[in-house]
Amino acid sequence: GQQVMQIPQYQHVQEGEDFTTYCNSSTTLSNIQWYKQRPGGHPVFLIQLVKSGEVKKQKRLTFQFGEAKKNSSLHITATQTTDVGTYFCAGLTGAGGANNLFFGTGTRLTVIP
């Protein structure tokens, strides 16, 4: 069953506002991956975090892995229309493996120009 929950499901922001999506797991995760899917497109890998408390930045995007490795967040500063899409987290459980990667339900971001 679903092991990784993601909130919010939808988010509408004015262009220039910030945006954050949260990924939560009831169990400790080994790694967390983040993907972006543009409308009508396919998921594209953004980043992977593996350490407790890890923070990584990609331009306006900041990714964080919680200290307890049970949650993660993606924060976008000053959104642009190019940020539109659905953001998915994927949590890895246990020692790893192809069938231990569970995707969240995604957060669909709409940016109003």
Binding site: S30, N31, Q33, F45, Q48, G96, G97, A98, L101, T105
Partner: protein, 119 residues
Amino acid sequence: DAGITQSPRHKVTETGTPVTLRCHQTENHRYMYWYRQDPGHGLRLIHYSYGVKDTDKGEVSDGYSVSRSKTEDFLLTLESATSSQTSVYFCAISESIPVSGRSGTGELFFGEGSRLTVL
């Protein structure tokens, strides 16, 4: 984008008919996956392959079978399609499986998707 081609991209079929979706890669990656994407469920793993003729079940494998006779091709078959299998199917590839605590492993590259409607 990684060299991944899915076919067909769109298909409408009737309940009870067999359907085969094809995934072709030009990256020579060892691992190939089939996911389905449904509203409210994100992406769920159906089957994956870790080499030619080596496959294993994922989270939602019931009603699906796969085959991999060549490194570059991974087929997904619905022996008798049902309306609950209406979905968007994504093929993915990776150089390695994700390993706990190791960055740079298990990064998935997805194909463009195949939209299947079962009437």
